[in-house]
Symmetry: C3
Subunit: 157 residues, 3 copies
């Protein structure tokens, strides 16, 4: 079990060794690799996977369908998305359940950095060692090693 | 009373039937309709109103003056604003109180979707079934059924 | 000691008089001046300084190296940055420690307003009485009294 600050809600999480989890976190049904650090006010949903030696900073939301490699940096207040057209209800007017939408998988490759305040749309791949600038809104794939900034995010240089 | 996960702070809230409230929430003086779900790390201020069959996702802030209809989706990390020129203090240099600023009311109509990471300025109306893209900054009204993206948000197509 | 709502984590903080701290906050090793108010879901890191008569609203992250003057307004969901090229690990592949990166100091001068959802990159100065619009991404200095909006933030008018 990780070093965990209270209060936190941790249910059905598969932890590697020497993970550190700060207070006020909500982690459930996910996998978190060796030595990775999870900041305060972070939620990681069922089905998400985070590799080893990552830093996930405060106020960040990682949803089902997100797979993060090793040595990735996820800044503060980062939000992942996994649904192209989210709606509260289905055509019958009832709250959507699991069969009412299609999950878009997102991949963050080894060594990538996602700047604070970034929003990552569903279905994209952020390549190895790439950098997403702070506040960027990523709507398509980011090549390995590239740096993207802005809304929508575009490659620098 | 709703199904509520602890720890949460819930004071003077008018709940409909079968509301679900996740942990680490701060709800006070607001109204929340039937079957609506409120995620973790959400604050809803005094005076805000949320209809029935809505989903309000994690890390979202809903301020006084916001009125949300039925079947609306409010994504993760959404921030509403209700003050055009916020300042900490009044001209005398003292912390502002209620008489020192004018609240701008905001309306989210039935079935609208607000994408994750969006910022909604005060005084706008987001029309029925409209979609605000993830990360958008909404500075003016969004027509019913329209989709807006970007900073500032502009209508697609 | 300030008026503090529970649960909160407050460690090694130097408070002025009549500070108010809301629940679900994580404050450590920082200074907070007289009468300043700190909202829910706020983290203030070791080394940060906040003056007197400020309002720091919910969901905001203030990092080491940030110095905020008096009578400043920091909106909801504001994120400060202090590292130009954040990485999880150093060249040897181990989690970064304090000697592996250079902190960029950020200054928010007296009476400035930072709108909700804004992201403030490291190393900038936001001048006295300046206004950062909601959702702006500030990448360079903001002159005293100026108003900036957008991503990247540009001066209005």
């Amino acid at each position: 079990m990780p070093e965990t600050a209270e209060p936190s809600l941790i249910v059905d999480v598969e932890f590697g060794e020497d993970v550190v989890v700060r207070a006020f976190t909500n982690l459930y049904g996910c996998r978190i690799g060796d030595r990775t650090q999870i900041g305060t006010f972070v939620e990681v949903q069922r089905g998400a996977e985070i590799g080893s030696d990552c830093k996930v900073q405060s106020h960040t939301f990682i949803c089902d369908g997100v797979s993060i490699g090793d040595r990735a940096f996820v800044g503060h207040g980062v939000v992942f998305v996994n649904d192209k057209r989210p709606r509260a209800t289905n055509p019958e007017g009832r709250l959507q359940g699991e069969s009412d939408w299609m999950m878009l998988p997102t991949v963050v490759e080894d060594g990538a950095t996602i700047g604070s305040g970034a929003t990552i749309l569903g279905g994209v791949t952020i390549g190895a060692e790439a950098t997403v600038g702070a506040g960027a809104v990523v709507v398509k794939d980011v090549p390995a090693g590239a740096t993207v900034v802005g809304n929508p995010a575009r490659e620098l240089g």
